[in-house]
């Protein structure tokens, strides 16, 4: 089992994700530089947090055209598990693997705090070890995490059970309290909270461990 961690210029959670996967879960990882195209031997892909390409134009807008993401798109369409955390979630929406967009937090502040969440795993592969309606706590750290889509789309996403993570106390103005979304097949998950920062009691809880460990099962 090898997890590929995509590294863009400006990624800054790539090493945190490696630490969580290798140090806490004893998985092997491989960094995938943004110019790579070969995902051979990779069983799951993580798009980590950070500021890919300096967030120029819009968060994730430039990253979307990185060569590695052509391979990630094929990998996702083939059913491969793909996880986008924070900036990774923004990239997934920009590349159209998940609907909607992430915009500036309602109150403009960069938010860095624990976020109580409700999990509705449905068919999402990354959340299969969580119970329906389970309450967990994961840290958030973002300035542009306000999920936005139109009312019809939100209703459809809700109806399809794709709003798999919801804020208990909406911190950023996201429509529908959306903190995380999955695709129709359930193999792609995008979320603003950082599961890799909640994998050891020393860093504030372990609620993120099962999410990352789900790729093992």
């Amino acid at each position: 089992m090898t997890v590929g961690i995509v590294v863009f210029p400006g990624s800054n959670c790539d090493r945190d994700v490696r630490w969580a996967l290798e140090g806490c879960l004893h998985l092997s990882t491989r960094f995938l530089w943004h110019e790579e195209r070969d995902l051979g031997g990779i069983d799951a892909v993580v798009l980590p947090g950070g500021f890919s390409y300096g967030d120029y134009l819009r968060c994730g807008a430039i990253a979307r055209f990185a060569p590695v993401l052509e391979a990630v798109r094929d990998f996702a369409h083939g059913g491969g598990p793909v996880l986008g955390i924070c900036n990774g979630f923004q990239v997934l929406t920009e590349m159209g693997l998940l609907p909607g967009a992430l915009t500036r937090n309602q109150k403009l502040h960069f938010l860095c705090e624990p976020a109580p969440l409700e999990v509705r795993p449905g068919t999402c592969q990354w959340l299969k070890s969580y119970g329906e309606g389970e309450a967990i706590n994961l840290p958030i750290a973002h300035g542009e995490g306000r999920y936005q889509c139109d009312a019809d789309e939100l209703q459809q996403l809700e109806g399809e059970g794709r709003v798999v993570l919801r804020y208990g106390q909406n911190p950023n103005g996201s429509v529908g309290d959306v903190a995380g979304l999955t695709n129709q097949a359930g193999n792609v998950l995008g979320l603003m909270p950082h599961p890799e920062r909640a994998c050891d009691p020393a860093t504030g809880g372990t609620d993120g461990l099962r999410l990352l460990a789900s790729v093992l099962a």
Partner: protein
């Protein structure tokens, strides 16, 4: 080949909250500028492009605007295109 100059204006769709615009509006009131009903912040992008003719230039900039400069989920864009000669606006 003819040179074209394009100004693309990108703005948040009216249905999308613009918190930075709201904060700026509040600051304007503190400056003493009253009566501002709307203040929305967007982006202005200037592009110079060589193309065989105006229709091609228009199509290229429209593609650029729709697929890269703006995200149609949250943003609208508009375009002004002109042919330039020797760096001067025609």
């Amino acid at each position: 080949m003819p040179l074209f100059s394009a100004h693309v204006q990108v703005s948040l769709r009216s249905s999308v909250l613009d918190p930075a615009g709201e904060a700026t509006r509040a600051a304007a009131a503190r400056l003493g500028v009253d009566g501002i009903k709307t203040l929305r912040i967007g982006k202005s992008i200037h592009v110079e492009l060589e193309a065989p003719d105006r229709a091609t230039a228009q199509a290229q900039i429209e593609l650029l605007s729709d697929r890269l400069l703006a995200n149609p989920v949250i943003e609208d864009w508009s375009l002004e295109l002109a042919e330039t000669h020797g760096g001067q606006q025609a």
